[in-house]
């Protein structure tokens, strides 16, 4: 029977995770521990290449990233995390902007024999999903809940994050809270609805409008909301880009934020800090999520938690009523 990482850990009297970290040149142990583990590895004749899916298949030291047509800033912060972690672990990264060509680009990545594929916020269709499972290259989806359970994902708890964003507005005294939503019936919308319900606030149809997560749709959504729901004092936007569109429309209309209307966004991309006024928003730890995606591909045994913490970042667009 071949020697396992557990045997090494036991004999060296360190944890499984420590051995794996040492094998993958990750930080988090003393030089002394490293020497001890390396000695045991040699004594037992352990073959480090067998520890992880990604490492078994390593050929090109290249990871492929598929990025759809979502907000570039959102993607860009995830990519920075991916790049940094890949660099630490000795991998190069090839990025493909897929738009509607996911299948084409998967093929390109397969032909280039990448060691693993990270999809950023990709919704898979049946055909593409089947193609992915038929290959033996590890895949992970970041910032999207996979619609197929076989594909691991890294995400925040979107339902809880939205619930807390809306509750934050309610705690500030707001009762007439509009929503600029993105996808009908998704977890962000469910979070809004439950928060309103738990505060005994009624929701009418005119209080929710839909955009496509981008700036321009924030403008048109706010225009609608102001017509449909003029009594509103606060708006929850499910992306910072749409919140920026909302701010832009309100500026045009000479409606002051937060004096007349409070706004909370979602994502905490660089748009939020650049907004005028700076935008209060729900932070997703995009950089860290990108880093973890690389770890999950290369050293899956080190990743315990794929749900990342969210956080409300208070800036200047929400006031107490």
């Amino acid at each position: 029977m071949s020697v396992t990482i557990k045997d090494v850990a036991k004999k060296a009297n360190v944890s499984y995770s420590t051995v794996s970290r040492i094998l993958n040149n990750l930080p988090g142990y003393s030089e002394e521990t490293k020497l001890k583990v390396e000695k045991v590895i040699e004594e037992l004749g352990y073959q480090p290449n067998a520890i992880a899916r990604g490492l078994i298949k390593q050929k090109t030291k290249t990871l492929g990233v598929l990025v759809p047509g979502v907000s570039d800033l959102f993607v860009s912060e995830i990519l920075d995390g991916i790049e940094e972690q890949a660099r630490i672990m000795g991998y190069n990264v090839m990025i493909c902007k897929t738009k509607n060509r996911t299948k084409d680009y998967l093929q390109t990545l397969y032909e280039n024999r990448v060691d693993g594929i990270i999809m950023v916020s990709v919704m898979l269709n049946e055909e593409t999903y089947k193609e992915i499972v038929s290959k033996e290259i590890p895949v992970v989806n970041v910032a999207a809940k996979s619609n197929y359970s076989e594909i691991p994902f890294i995400n925040i708890d979107e339902f809880k994050a939205s619930y807390e964003a809306v509750t934050y507005l309610i705690d500030k005294g707001h009762q007439n809270i509009g929503m600029v939503s993105g996808t009908k019936g998704d977890n962000r919308e469910k979070g809004y609805k439950l928060a309103m319900k738990n505060a005994n606030l009624e929701i009418f149809e005119n209080m929710i409008v839909y955009g496509d997560y981008h700036f321009e749709s924030g403008i048109s959504s706010m225009k609608k909301l102001l017509m449909y729901f003029p009594e509103m004092t606060a708006v929850f936007c499910v992306s910072d880009e749409m919140a920026a569109g909302v701010l832009s429309y309100l500026y045009q209309q000479k409606i002051r934020v937060p004096e007349n209307i409070s706004i909370i966004g979602f994502d905490n991309t660089s748009t939020a800090k650049k907004a005028i006024p700076p935008l209060t928003t729900v932070a997703q730890p995009l950089y860290a999520m990108g880093q973890s995606a690389v770890q999950l591909l290369v050293t899956p045994e080190l990743i315990n938690n794929k749900t990342f913490p969210h956080l409300i970042v208070e800036r200047e667009t929400v006031r107490k009523l």
Copy 2:
């Protein structure tokens, strides 16, 4: 002697460019012309693969793009143009964010046998330059003047664009014009200086401050300018990101734009239209420049002009004095 594209053009009684467009599935000819040219190609036994550097070497139908750590929005619009043109011409695109790893990533692209490489705003060092010329893969640099003349580039006339931006402010009655510059002595700074000189306006050292093209440096630069040069009525910023930082700082200081200070930016990325107030800026046609980069790699004979027109986009940050 083998049949050339010129022979085809002559016999079909169409231009060289038309034949090349047809061969590369580009638009710009009638169905009738297409049929005629295809007939001549068959008659003469012309081998279309020989027409262009890129096409001669075509192996993988993949182009590599090297992107450094410049503003993501700036790069993103160039990338969209690259993607679209590549899609039309049947190529896939692999993007590498290089940061300080240009040489590593060049190697990765070579190993993946890309048919051509597009560098976005990359300043080459001697070593990397030598590596590029030693390989026989076509390369083009977009949105940067190549420091080595052997490498073709696609750019605007930065000197002229800056000259016109500053002249625009002068024509609006401004005389005390500060500059948030990026690179000491570059063409943008030279354009500013000549515009001031030609209007008989003196330039003092305290009127120019330096940032790194990013948002945060716009904030710190404006802070300095307000201290050093309190009499200024207008500021020329060499990137929209820095202009957004300037707007943010002025908002904090309750200094109104354009009532108290006028601002003009550079690039016309999506930051400009999203700014509050929307930013007047010098547009670079980034999308079209990205498209042309692909054409220059794949069908260099179709590209006559590598200098793109700039344009002042008037929004709401400049007022007449």
